[in-house]
Symmetry: C2
Protein backbone atom coordinates (compact mmCIF):
# COMPACT_ATOMS: atom_id res chain seq x y z
CA UNK A 1 0.00 0.00 0.00
CA UNK A 2 1.25 3.45 -0.85
CA UNK A 3 0.24 6.48 1.13
CA UNK A 4 -0.10 9.79 -0.62
CA UNK A 5 0.83 12.65 1.67
CA UNK A 6 -0.91 16.01 1.41
CA UNK A 7 2.17 17.62 0.03
CA UNK A 8 2.08 15.43 -3.05
CA UNK A 9 5.15 13.47 -1.95
CA UNK A 10 4.60 9.75 -2.06
CA UNK A 11 6.40 8.21 0.85
CA UNK A 12 6.06 4.48 1.17
CA UNK A 13 4.23 3.06 4.13
CA UNK A 14 7.43 2.48 6.04
CA UNK A 15 8.49 6.10 5.49
CA UNK A 16 5.17 7.34 6.83
CA UNK A 17 5.31 5.07 9.87
CA UNK A 18 8.86 6.20 10.58
CA UNK A 19 7.99 9.91 10.21
CA UNK A 20 5.16 9.46 12.73
CA UNK A 21 7.43 7.64 15.20
CA UNK A 22 10.08 10.33 14.84
CA UNK A 23 7.60 13.14 15.55
CA UNK A 24 6.03 11.18 18.42
CA UNK A 25 9.41 10.50 20.03
CA UNK A 26 10.29 14.19 19.87
CA UNK A 27 6.96 15.48 21.19
CA UNK A 28 6.59 12.96 24.04
CA UNK A 29 10.11 13.82 25.22
CA UNK A 30 9.73 17.58 24.90
CA UNK A 31 6.12 18.12 25.92
CA UNK A 32 5.46 15.13 28.17
CA UNK A 33 2.67 12.62 27.72
CA UNK A 34 -0.30 14.83 28.59
CA UNK A 35 0.47 17.72 26.25
CA UNK A 36 1.36 15.54 23.28
CA UNK A 37 -1.55 15.09 20.87
CA UNK A 38 -2.05 12.69 17.98
CA UNK A 39 -3.06 15.66 15.84
CA UNK A 40 0.16 17.62 16.48
CA UNK A 41 2.20 14.48 15.79
CA UNK A 42 0.43 14.13 12.42
CA UNK A 43 1.13 17.78 11.59
CA UNK A 44 4.83 17.47 12.42
CA UNK A 45 5.09 14.23 10.46
CA UNK A 46 3.30 15.81 7.51
CA UNK A 47 0.66 13.09 7.29
CA UNK A 48 -3.11 12.94 7.53
CA UNK A 49 -4.18 12.67 11.20
CA UNK A 50 -6.14 9.47 10.56
CA UNK A 51 -2.91 7.69 9.59
CA UNK A 52 -1.46 8.09 13.09
CA UNK A 53 -4.07 5.84 14.68
CA UNK A 54 -4.27 3.70 11.55
CA UNK A 55 -0.61 2.72 11.87
CA UNK A 56 0.01 3.07 15.59
CA UNK A 57 -3.30 2.61 17.44
CA UNK A 58 -4.16 4.67 20.49
CA UNK A 59 -2.00 7.37 22.07
CA UNK A 60 -0.97 4.85 24.73
CA UNK A 61 0.02 2.30 22.08
CA UNK A 62 2.00 4.90 20.17
CA UNK A 63 3.75 5.96 23.39
CA UNK A 64 4.68 2.34 24.11
CA UNK A 65 6.14 2.07 20.58
CA UNK A 66 8.49 4.99 21.10
CA UNK A 67 9.58 4.82 24.75
CA UNK A 68 13.00 3.37 24.99
CA UNK A 69 15.43 2.88 27.78
CA UNK A 70 18.73 4.65 27.28
CA UNK A 71 20.54 1.34 27.82
CA UNK A 72 19.85 -2.38 27.57
CA UNK A 73 19.66 -3.65 31.16
CA UNK A 74 20.35 -7.24 30.11
CA UNK A 75 23.64 -6.07 28.57
CA UNK A 76 24.91 -3.96 31.45
CA UNK A 77 23.44 -5.20 34.75
CA UNK A 78 25.38 -8.47 34.96
CA UNK A 79 28.67 -6.59 34.56
CA UNK A 80 27.69 -3.95 37.12
CA UNK A 81 26.63 -6.52 39.71
CA UNK A 82 29.54 -8.90 39.16
CA UNK A 83 32.70 -8.25 41.16
CA UNK A 84 32.97 -7.05 44.75
CA UNK A 85 29.40 -6.64 46.07
CA UNK A 86 30.60 -3.83 48.38
CA UNK A 87 31.49 -1.74 45.32
CA UNK A 88 28.33 -2.40 43.32
CA UNK A 89 26.70 0.84 44.51
CA UNK A 90 29.62 2.89 43.20
CA UNK A 91 29.66 1.03 39.85
CA UNK A 92 25.90 1.50 39.45
CA UNK A 93 26.08 5.21 40.38
CA UNK A 94 28.90 5.89 37.88
CA UNK A 95 27.05 4.00 35.14
CA UNK A 96 23.76 5.86 35.74
CA UNK A 97 25.40 9.29 35.81
CA UNK A 98 27.31 8.42 32.65
CA UNK A 99 24.08 7.53 30.82
CA UNK A 100 22.33 10.69 32.02
CA UNK A 101 25.16 12.98 30.96
CA UNK A 102 24.75 11.95 27.32
CA UNK A 103 22.14 14.14 25.68
CA UNK A 104 20.22 11.22 24.20
CA UNK A 105 20.23 9.20 27.43
CA UNK A 106 19.09 12.20 29.45
CA UNK A 107 16.32 13.03 27.01
CA UNK A 108 15.02 9.43 27.03
CA UNK A 109 15.01 9.15 30.80
CA UNK A 110 13.41 12.57 31.25
CA UNK A 111 10.64 11.53 28.85
CA UNK A 112 10.04 8.36 30.86
CA UNK A 113 9.97 10.10 34.24
CA UNK A 114 7.71 12.90 33.01
CA UNK A 115 5.30 10.35 31.55
CA UNK A 116 5.33 8.49 34.87
CA UNK A 117 4.21 11.67 36.62
CA UNK A 118 1.44 12.46 34.14
CA UNK A 119 -1.89 10.69 33.75
CA UNK A 120 -2.33 7.37 35.59
CA UNK A 121 -2.57 5.33 32.36
CA UNK A 122 0.87 6.57 31.27
CA UNK A 123 2.27 5.98 34.76
CA UNK A 124 1.13 2.35 34.55
CA UNK A 125 2.80 1.89 31.16
CA UNK A 126 6.07 3.24 32.55
CA UNK A 127 5.79 1.14 35.71
CA UNK A 128 5.19 -2.03 33.71
CA UNK A 129 8.08 -1.28 31.36
CA UNK A 130 10.51 -0.47 34.19
CA UNK A 131 9.44 -3.49 36.23
CA UNK A 132 9.89 -5.84 33.28
CA UNK A 133 13.03 -4.34 31.77
CA UNK A 134 14.91 -2.93 34.75
CA UNK A 135 13.71 -3.93 38.20
CA UNK A 136 13.14 -7.63 37.60
CA UNK A 137 16.62 -8.15 36.03
CA UNK A 138 18.15 -5.94 38.76
CA UNK A 139 16.45 -8.02 41.47
CA UNK A 140 17.67 -11.23 39.81
CA UNK A 141 21.18 -9.80 39.84
CA UNK A 142 20.92 -8.86 43.52
CA UNK A 143 19.68 -12.36 44.25
CA UNK A 144 18.78 -12.03 47.95
CA UNK A 145 15.37 -12.85 49.50
CA UNK A 146 14.23 -9.23 49.51
CA UNK A 147 15.89 -8.37 46.19
CA UNK A 148 12.72 -6.90 44.63
CA UNK A 149 12.35 -4.48 47.55
CA UNK A 150 16.03 -3.52 47.30
CA UNK A 151 15.66 -2.93 43.56
CA UNK A 152 12.66 -0.64 44.10
CA UNK A 153 14.59 1.38 46.72
CA UNK A 154 17.47 1.78 44.24
CA UNK A 155 14.86 2.92 41.71
CA UNK A 156 13.48 5.54 44.10
CA UNK A 157 16.89 7.22 44.46
CA UNK A 158 17.60 7.14 40.73
CA UNK A 159 14.17 8.52 39.76
CA UNK A 160 14.62 11.21 42.43
CA UNK A 161 17.99 12.14 40.97
CA UNK A 162 16.43 12.52 37.52
CA UNK A 163 13.70 14.76 38.97
CA UNK A 164 15.95 16.89 41.16
CA UNK A 165 19.01 17.24 38.90
CA UNK A 166 17.59 17.21 35.38
CA UNK A 167 13.87 18.08 35.49
CA UNK A 168 13.49 20.51 38.41
CA UNK A 169 17.17 21.56 38.20
CA UNK A 170 17.50 21.95 41.96
CA UNK A 171 20.74 23.70 42.87
CA UNK A 172 23.50 23.03 43.69
CA UNK A 173 22.79 19.40 42.73
CA UNK A 174 22.00 20.36 39.12
CA UNK A 175 25.38 21.93 38.39
CA UNK A 176 27.74 19.60 40.29
CA UNK A 177 30.00 17.43 38.16
CA UNK A 178 29.03 13.93 37.14
CA UNK A 179 31.77 12.17 39.16
CA UNK A 180 30.99 14.13 42.35
CA UNK A 181 27.29 13.30 42.19
CA UNK A 182 28.02 9.64 41.45
CA UNK A 183 30.26 9.51 44.52
CA UNK A 184 27.61 11.24 46.65
CA UNK A 185 24.79 8.82 45.82
CA UNK A 186 26.93 5.65 45.70
CA UNK A 187 26.69 4.92 49.46
CA UNK A 188 22.88 5.21 49.31
CA UNK A 189 22.67 2.76 46.40
CA UNK A 190 25.12 0.49 48.25
CA UNK A 191 22.91 0.62 51.35
CA UNK A 192 19.87 -0.42 49.28
CA UNK A 193 21.81 -3.21 47.53
CA UNK A 194 23.48 -4.84 50.54
CA UNK A 195 22.65 -2.92 53.74
CA UNK A 196 20.02 -3.45 56.40
CA UNK A 197 16.75 -2.47 54.73
Amino acid sequence: MTVRAHSGRRPGESGTREAILHAARRQFAELGYDRTSMRQIAIEAGVDPTLVSHFHGTKQELFLSVIELPFQPADVLPGLLAGDPQDAGARLARFVLGVFESEQGRSQIIGLVRAAASEPAAARLVRDLLTREVFTPLAEGIGSDDAAYRASLVGSQIVGLVMARYIVALEPLASRGQAAVAAAIAPSLQHYLTGNV
Copy 2:
Protein backbone atom coordinates in the same frame (compact mmCIF):
# COMPACT_ATOMS: atom_id res chain seq x y z
CA MET B 1 -18.76 44.36 44.17
CA THR B 2 -21.22 41.53 43.96
CA VAL B 3 -20.88 38.81 41.37
CA ARG B 4 -23.98 37.23 39.95
CA ALA B 5 -23.39 33.59 39.07
CA HIS B 6 -25.14 31.94 36.14
CA SER B 7 -27.30 29.89 38.45
CA GLY B 8 -28.94 32.99 39.80
CA ARG B 9 -27.27 32.59 43.18
CA ARG B 10 -25.56 35.73 44.40
CA PRO B 11 -22.39 34.69 46.12
CA GLY B 12 -20.29 37.51 47.45
CA GLU B 13 -16.89 38.15 45.93
CA SER B 14 -15.14 36.21 48.65
CA GLY B 15 -17.42 33.21 48.10
CA THR B 16 -16.65 33.25 44.38
CA ARG B 17 -12.91 33.53 44.94
CA GLU B 18 -13.04 30.68 47.44
CA ALA B 19 -15.10 28.45 45.11
CA ILE B 20 -12.51 28.99 42.35
CA LEU B 21 -9.62 28.20 44.68
CA HIS B 22 -11.37 25.07 45.91
CA ALA B 23 -11.96 23.79 42.35
CA ALA B 24 -8.40 24.72 41.32
CA ARG B 25 -6.88 22.92 44.30
CA ARG B 26 -8.84 19.78 43.47
CA GLN B 27 -8.11 19.80 39.73
CA PHE B 28 -4.38 20.59 40.00
CA ALA B 29 -3.97 17.73 42.49
CA GLU B 30 -6.05 15.22 40.56
CA LEU B 31 -5.20 16.06 36.95
CA GLY B 32 -1.77 17.61 37.27
CA TYR B 33 -0.80 21.07 36.02
CA ASP B 34 -0.92 20.40 32.28
CA ARG B 35 -4.39 18.90 32.11
CA THR B 36 -6.00 21.45 34.40
CA SER B 37 -7.72 24.26 32.48
CA MET B 38 -9.07 27.61 33.64
CA ARG B 39 -12.31 26.81 31.82
CA GLN B 40 -12.89 23.52 33.67
CA ILE B 41 -12.09 25.22 36.97
CA ALA B 42 -14.75 27.83 36.21
CA ILE B 43 -17.29 25.13 35.37
CA GLU B 44 -16.63 23.23 38.60
CA ALA B 45 -16.79 26.44 40.62
CA GLY B 46 -20.05 27.42 38.89
CA VAL B 47 -18.75 30.82 37.82
CA ASP B 48 -18.27 32.63 34.54
CA PRO B 49 -14.87 31.69 33.02
CA THR B 50 -13.79 35.34 32.82
CA LEU B 51 -13.94 35.58 36.62
CA VAL B 52 -11.17 33.03 37.09
CA SER B 53 -8.54 35.25 35.49
CA HIS B 54 -10.24 38.40 36.83
CA PHE B 55 -9.68 37.24 40.43
CA HIS B 56 -6.64 34.98 40.13
CA GLY B 57 -4.61 36.07 37.08
CA THR B 58 -2.88 33.55 34.84
CA LYS B 59 -2.92 29.79 35.26
CA GLN B 60 0.56 30.02 36.79
CA GLU B 61 -0.59 32.67 39.28
CA LEU B 62 -3.63 30.60 40.23
CA PHE B 63 -1.41 27.54 40.69
CA LEU B 64 0.87 29.53 42.99
CA SER B 65 -2.16 30.61 45.04
CA VAL B 66 -3.23 27.05 45.72
CA ILE B 67 -0.02 25.03 46.07
CA GLU B 68 0.68 24.37 49.68
CA LEU B 69 3.24 22.32 51.50
CA PRO B 70 1.76 19.61 53.70
CA PHE B 71 3.73 21.01 56.65
CA GLN B 72 5.34 24.27 57.78
CA PRO B 73 9.10 23.73 57.49
CA ALA B 74 9.87 26.59 59.90
CA ASP B 75 7.78 24.81 62.55
CA VAL B 76 9.21 21.32 62.16
CA LEU B 77 12.78 21.51 60.81
CA PRO B 78 14.42 22.95 63.93
CA GLY B 79 12.99 20.12 66.06
CA LEU B 80 14.02 17.45 63.54
CA LEU B 81 17.57 18.76 63.26
CA ALA B 82 18.08 19.41 66.99
CA GLY B 83 19.33 16.51 69.07
CA ASP B 84 21.91 13.87 68.12
CA PRO B 85 23.07 14.69 64.56
CA GLN B 86 23.68 10.97 63.93
CA ASP B 87 19.93 10.31 64.35
CA ALA B 88 18.69 13.22 62.26
CA GLY B 89 18.26 11.01 59.15
CA ALA B 90 15.97 8.65 61.06
CA ARG B 91 13.94 11.51 62.55
CA LEU B 92 13.56 13.15 59.12
CA ALA B 93 12.59 9.84 57.46
CA ARG B 94 9.92 9.11 60.09
CA PHE B 95 8.52 12.63 59.81
CA VAL B 96 8.35 12.53 56.01
CA LEU B 97 6.67 9.11 55.91
CA GLY B 98 4.20 10.27 58.57
CA VAL B 99 3.21 13.30 56.48
CA PHE B 100 2.85 11.21 53.31
CA GLU B 101 0.67 8.60 54.97
CA SER B 102 -2.02 11.19 55.75
CA GLU B 103 -4.36 11.51 52.80
CA GLN B 104 -4.14 15.29 52.69
CA GLY B 105 -0.35 15.38 52.98
CA ARG B 106 0.05 12.76 50.27
CA SER B 107 -2.35 14.53 47.93
CA GLN B 108 -0.52 17.87 48.38
CA ILE B 109 2.92 16.42 47.79
CA ILE B 110 1.76 14.38 44.79
CA GLY B 111 0.30 17.57 43.27
CA LEU B 112 3.62 19.37 43.78
CA VAL B 113 5.75 16.58 42.31
CA ARG B 114 3.46 16.08 39.33
CA ALA B 115 3.54 19.81 38.62
CA ALA B 116 7.34 19.74 38.86
CA ALA B 117 7.41 17.08 36.12
CA SER B 118 5.01 18.92 33.82
CA GLU B 119 5.70 22.03 31.76
CA PRO B 120 8.92 23.94 32.51
CA ALA B 121 7.08 27.03 33.80
CA ALA B 122 5.34 24.93 36.46
CA ALA B 123 8.59 23.16 37.31
CA ARG B 124 10.22 26.53 37.95
CA LEU B 125 7.38 27.60 40.24
CA VAL B 126 7.76 24.40 42.25
CA ARG B 127 11.55 24.71 42.37
CA ASP B 128 11.35 28.30 43.62
CA LEU B 129 8.75 27.37 46.25
CA LEU B 130 10.73 24.36 47.50
CA THR B 131 14.01 26.25 47.50
CA ARG B 132 12.54 29.13 49.51
CA GLU B 133 10.30 27.15 51.86
CA VAL B 134 12.14 23.86 52.33
CA PHE B 135 15.71 23.65 51.07
CA THR B 136 16.99 27.00 52.33
CA PRO B 137 15.69 26.42 55.90
CA LEU B 138 16.92 22.80 55.74
CA ALA B 139 20.38 23.98 54.67
CA GLU B 140 20.40 26.57 57.47
CA GLY B 141 19.54 23.80 59.92
CA ILE B 142 22.33 21.57 58.59
CA GLY B 143 24.71 24.48 58.92
CA SER B 144 27.86 23.03 57.29
CA ASP B 145 29.79 24.57 54.39
CA ASP B 146 28.14 22.40 51.78
CA ALA B 147 24.73 22.42 53.46
CA ALA B 148 22.84 23.52 50.34
CA TYR B 149 24.27 20.57 48.39
CA ARG B 150 23.39 18.19 51.23
CA ALA B 151 19.84 19.58 51.34
CA SER B 152 19.38 19.04 47.59
CA LEU B 153 20.61 15.43 47.90
CA VAL B 154 18.08 14.84 50.71
CA GLY B 155 15.47 16.35 48.40
CA SER B 156 16.38 13.98 45.57
CA GLN B 157 15.71 10.91 47.73
CA ILE B 158 12.44 12.29 49.10
CA VAL B 159 11.12 13.32 45.68
CA GLY B 160 12.14 9.89 44.36
CA LEU B 161 10.24 8.21 47.19
CA VAL B 162 7.12 10.20 46.31
CA MET B 163 7.47 9.18 42.64
CA ALA B 164 8.25 5.49 43.25
CA ARG B 165 5.94 4.77 46.21
CA TYR B 166 2.94 7.05 45.64
CA ILE B 167 2.83 8.10 41.97
CA VAL B 168 4.24 5.16 40.00
CA ALA B 169 3.34 2.69 42.81
CA LEU B 170 6.42 0.57 42.21
CA GLU B 171 6.21 -2.71 44.12
CA PRO B 172 7.11 -3.90 46.67
CA LEU B 173 8.03 -0.39 47.85
CA ALA B 174 4.46 0.88 47.40
CA SER B 175 2.88 -1.60 49.81
CA ARG B 176 5.53 -1.80 52.54
CA GLY B 177 4.60 -0.31 55.88
CA GLN B 178 5.43 3.27 56.78
CA ALA B 179 7.88 2.39 59.58
CA ALA B 180 9.78 -0.13 57.44
CA VAL B 181 10.24 2.34 54.58
CA ALA B 182 11.30 5.09 56.99
CA ALA B 183 13.93 2.75 58.44
CA ALA B 184 15.12 1.76 54.95
CA ILE B 185 15.71 5.32 53.71
CA ALA B 186 16.99 6.74 57.02
CA PRO B 187 20.66 5.75 56.42
CA SER B 188 20.59 7.41 52.97
CA LEU B 189 19.23 10.66 54.43
CA GLN B 190 21.80 10.39 57.23
CA HIS B 191 24.57 9.98 54.66
CA TYR B 192 23.41 13.13 52.85
CA LEU B 193 23.13 15.10 56.12
CA THR B 194 26.45 14.18 57.74
CA GLY B 195 28.38 11.71 55.54
CA ASN B 196 31.12 12.20 53.00
CA VAL B 197 29.36 13.77 49.98
